[in-house]
């Protein structure tokens, strides 16, 4: 079991993840081309200007209106991407598998970052339940997705702390991690891929066509 999940399953997850993203991108590019006005509208200058205002916390009106959400969301997304890439445990695996040496995070920093991801997921779930305007547009799938994102982090953390049988937790950790990666191209988690494009497109429309700011 351990051999399968830490061998072929990881391969399936990575190939599925990158292949899925590539497929989605290629098919969407064709669709965008069909719309005639989409690609010519995209402007690196105005798209970039908008992106910058939306990735930096408190650079835009919307993010200043909700300081708590902005801080949680920003911290959550940074930790979500950085922690798995630079976790020491993962770096060891990179080295064993391909011999690549990789910079890694100090263990206690990684622990805190993992907890931030878990807390972020809990915050989003709670917000869905508490805020009427969010609850109104929340489906079961929204909760499942938040739990799915949280799962590999929670199980990885528990395994690392060795609170429960290590081997079992690692298997669950890898399986949930694989499901998470495989789900990204085909669920709303795909906003990871589309965010720069939707934002840049709106920034281009506002900037180049309408001479206005969109933040």
């Amino acid at each position: 079991m351990v051999d399968f999940v830490s061998g072929p399953l990881v391969w399936i997850a990575f190939v599925g993840f990158f292949g899925g993203l590539l497929y989605r991108f290629a098919t969407m590019y064709r669709l965008a081309d069909r719309e005639r006005v989409v690609l010519p509208t995209l402007s690196p200058r105005f798209g970039g200007r908008s992106l910058l205002h939306w990735v930096l916390p408190f650079a835009g009106t919307s993010s200043r209106m909700r300081p708590v959400f902005t801080v949680v969301s920003f911290a959550f997304h940074v930790c979500l991407v950085v922690t798995p890439l630079f976790l020491m445990g993962h770096a060891v695996l990179w080295r064993q598998a391909w011999g690549v040496r990789w910079w890694s995070l100090p263990e206690d920093v990684a622990d805190v970052m993992t907890l931030i991801v878990i807390a972020g997921c809990l915050f989003f779930i709670l917000r869905r339940l508490v805020r009427p305007e969010v609850r109104n547009v929340s489906y079961a799938s929204d909760f499942i997705l938040a739990l799915l994102v949280m799962a590999p982090f929670a199980t990885g953390y528990v395994a690392h702390q060795q609170w429960l049988p290590y081997q079992t937790m690692i298997v669950i950790h890898i399986v949930t991690g694989a499901i998470w990666l495989l789900a990204i191209p085909w669920t709303r988690l795909v906003h990871m891929l589309w965010f720069p494009f939707t934002r840049a497109y709106m920034g281009s429309e506002f900037g180049a066509v309408r001479h206005a700011r969109d933040w």
Binding site: V137, R213, D214
Partner: protein, 439 residues
């Protein structure tokens, strides 16, 4: 839960036409628009929205209705487009009635929400897609459909006949001459610097605005002309009813008329949606990235005249004024600074609204909303209480509205909420305050 009274509004254009539909036609039409008429943008927007609700606070109808979650932009998409996608077009008449109420009355396509969505999802584009579907099903509020029918039959919004058009221009020329001797409204002057175009309601109900502009052109010494035939109307309600074929015809004719007159640019009257149609939505439908001839909004033109000193203000207007930033020329063209320059030149006591510039609230009249007519007025008023508060807080006696929809919409709000102030176009103030040459 939306107000039941608003949900029960009966509109023959919506309800009588729903009664004629078959489930097959509904399904086919929805699926055709979702698969054949839309592509990357709709797909990406549907995929990317994570249902976070951050757009809610941006919408004047959500704020005005005490944060009723059904009025959040995302909820408006959920109750229309998401359901159509989810049910693969298998929706019933009751659903369509509610979808029409949401798409035609509760969203003015003002695009404020796109500035609050972290992903920049064009929510108004999705609502316009719903309008498109409803249009193809023949489900459009009756008053709005009437303006579209007028566009299709007469190429102007208000059933203005050819002889009425020329007669109105001659009448306004005479009126303008009474104010300033020698004022002309030159018709079909080929090679003039400027073609001046207006919206259909000007000759129909606000003809004096044409005389105002003739006087302004005369004082500025402009080389200008107006078309005597079709193509003079730059308004476009078909754009908002979802009849994009008619929208395209109207825009093409307007630009062809300008091209035939070989003018250097088109100056248009104080209207917002007409600017959007001519510069943005029209060209897009026609497959152009931009209009073939530069289009100058009245606000930009007044700015140019005042800044260069071609017209001068003799005595400023003294009463306290505020200004409504029209969505389609501020969020749609960034004219807010020029607008304030013009207002400050003309008025001595200008008080700004908060929020302002690109973040100003829509008047809840543009986007075809006011054109849906009297059955929906009460609902429209309830959805913009925040605008009444905004105006009240400025303490202004006069609201300057350089857009026809804002003008009518704010007038309605002033009446409904008993604010006791008035509305005015810039041209009305300009002819009263500017220096006139000696007769």
């Amino acid at each position: 839960m939306a107000d039941l009274e608003d949900m029960k509004v009966i509109d023959p254009g919506v309800d009588d036409n729903i009664a004629k539909l078959t489930p097959e036609r509904i399904e086919q039409t929805i699926n055709r628009v979702l698969t054949k008429e839309s592509a990357a943008r709709l797909q990406v927007y549907l995929d990317t929205c994570v249902h976070c609700g951050l757009c809610a606070e941006s919408c004047q109808s959500y704020i005005s209705r005490d944060k009723d979650p059904d009025f959040a932009p995302v909820a408006k998409v959920k109750d229309t487009l998401w359901e159509m996608v989810k049910r693969k077009g298998k929706v019933d008449g009751e659903f369509l009635h509610n979808a029409a109420r949401i798409a035609f009355l509760e969203c003015g396509a003002c695009r404020r929400c796109s500035m609050y969505c972290p992903f920049g999802i064009d929510i108004s584009y999705m609502i316009m897609t719903v309008r498109r579907i409803l249009n193809l099903l023949g489900v459009v509020p009756q008053y709005l459909q009437d303006t579209t029918n007028s566009h299709a039959a007469t190429m102007n919004q208000m059933w203005v006949q050819q002889d009425d058009w020329i007669d109105t221009l001659m009448w306004q020329e005479e009126d303008a001459q009474a104010e300033l001797a020698g004022t002309r409204i030159p018709l079909d002057k080929e090679g003039a610097d400027i073609m001046y175009s207006v919206i259909g309601p000007e000759p129909k109900i606000l003809a004096q605005l044409i005389a105002n502009m003739a006087i302004i052109f005369k004082v500025a010494g402009a080389d200008w002309t107006m078309p005597s035939g079709d193509g003079w109307d730059n308004s476009n309600m078909a754009m908002y009813s979802g009849d994009f074929e008619t929208m395209g015809r109207v825009e093409r004719l307007h630009w062809e008329r300008a091209a035939k007159l070989r003018v250097k640019r088109v100056v248009m009257g104080e209207c917002g949606h007409a600017y959007r149609g001519a510069v943005y939505d029209g060209p897009r439908w026609l497959g152009w990235t931009k209009p073939p001839i530069p289009m100058v909004h009245a606000v930009e033109y007044y700015y140019e005249l005042l800044k260069s000193g071609r017209i001068k203000i003799a005595h400023k207007y003294e009463e306290p004024v505020t200004v409504q930033d029209p969505c389609n020329i501020v969020r749609g063209r960034g004219l807010h600074d020029k607008l304030r320059y013009v207002v400050n030149e003309i008025c001595a006591d200008f008080r700004d609204m908060e929020p302002r510039y690109e973040h100003n609230y829509c008047c809840q009249a543009g986007g075809g909303l006011i054109n849906c007519g009297p059955p929906w007025k009460r609902s429209r008023m309830k959805s913009n209480r925040i605008k009444a508060d905004q105006i009240h807080d400025t303490g202004a006696h006069l609201v300057i509205t350089p857009c026809h929809n804002c003008h009518s919409g704010i007038e309605d709000i002033i009446g409904f909420y008993k604010l006791g102030c008035h509305v005015s176009f810039i041209s009305e103030l300009l002819v009263k305050t500017m220096e006139m040459p000696e007769a």
